[in-house]
């Protein structure tokens, strides 16, 4: 059950990340876009910093919520859920 929930949360995160990366390519340029692909955390920070201007606030709220759910699942599952173990960090 936790594994299914974790996968659903993961897919949600990836959708939010793709939306932000597309905006990065459009608004900040090619290299910022590539940086967003390479470092998801940078895309997350950039999304929050430019969310108001680009209308990404709702997406960023959802992404943040999914990250929190992900962390809670990590604690509940005792860090044993695949792909959310501490070692699976970037």
């Amino acid at each position: 059950m936790l594994q299914i929930l974790s996968t659903v949360v993961g897919i949600g995160c990836i959708i939010c990340w793709i939306i932000v990366v597309i905006k990065m390519f459009q608004d900040a340029g090619v290299l910022h876009g590539i940086l967003g692909i390479i470092c998801g955390l940078y895309a997350f920070i950039w999304g929050w910093m430019n969310g108001g201007r680009l209308g990404l606030k709702n997406i960023m709220m959802i992404w943040s919520l999914l990250i929190i759910i992900n962390l809670v699942l990590g604690f509940v599952g005792g860090f044993r859920i695949p792909y959310i173990t501490p070692s699976a960090t970037p």
Partner: protein, 147 residues
């Protein structure tokens, strides 16, 4: 796409924006600390959902190895760890130092990026490095990232 699109300064933009620099440094420090104590931190959305490591996967642990002085293990985990650490130090220095003192460094970085395209070269190199690990090492790469 013009040459300017690929050779436009990116790192200098991050160095100039002190608010962005502060958040990046804070997030990186938090991520490194959480990872150091084995606590869950930022998880890669690509690896989490698909099980395929992204180009940046392994950088946190590689940087921790580097900070401990374990160069070999750091380079095995991610060859870009030294570059990442240098970039992080540069962002930290430019964020905490007085604005008039770092302006010269930022201008030099900007012209270096504009004329040599170093950021484009490094980012493209990272994509090539990731593809090579993904295609040539496959399961060994995934196992290494899974830990």
């Amino acid at each position: 796409m013009t040459r300017g699109a690929f050779f436009s300064p990116v790192f200098a933009t991050i160095l100039r924006d002190r608010r962005l620099g502060l958040i990046v440094c804070g997030a990186a420090a938090l991520q490194l600390t959480l990872s150091l104590f084995g606590l869950p931190g930022w998880t890669c959305p690509v690896f989490h959902a698909l099980g395929v490591p992204c180009p940046g996967c392994g950088l946190t642990r590689a940087t921790l190895f580097l900070l401990r002085g374990d160069w070999k293990q750091a380079l095995v985990m991610h060859a870009y760890a030294p570059i990442f650490l240098i970039a992080l130090v540069a962002i930290t220095v430019c964020t905490i130092s007085p604005k008039n003192q770092v302006e010269r460094i930022i201008l030099k970085t900007e012209s270096l990026e504009r004329y040599t395209g170093i950021t484009f070269i490094l980012l493209s190199g990272l994509i090539v490095y990731w593809l090579a690990r993904l295609l040539l090492l496959q399961s060994a790469f995934v196992r290494l990232i899974q830990g």
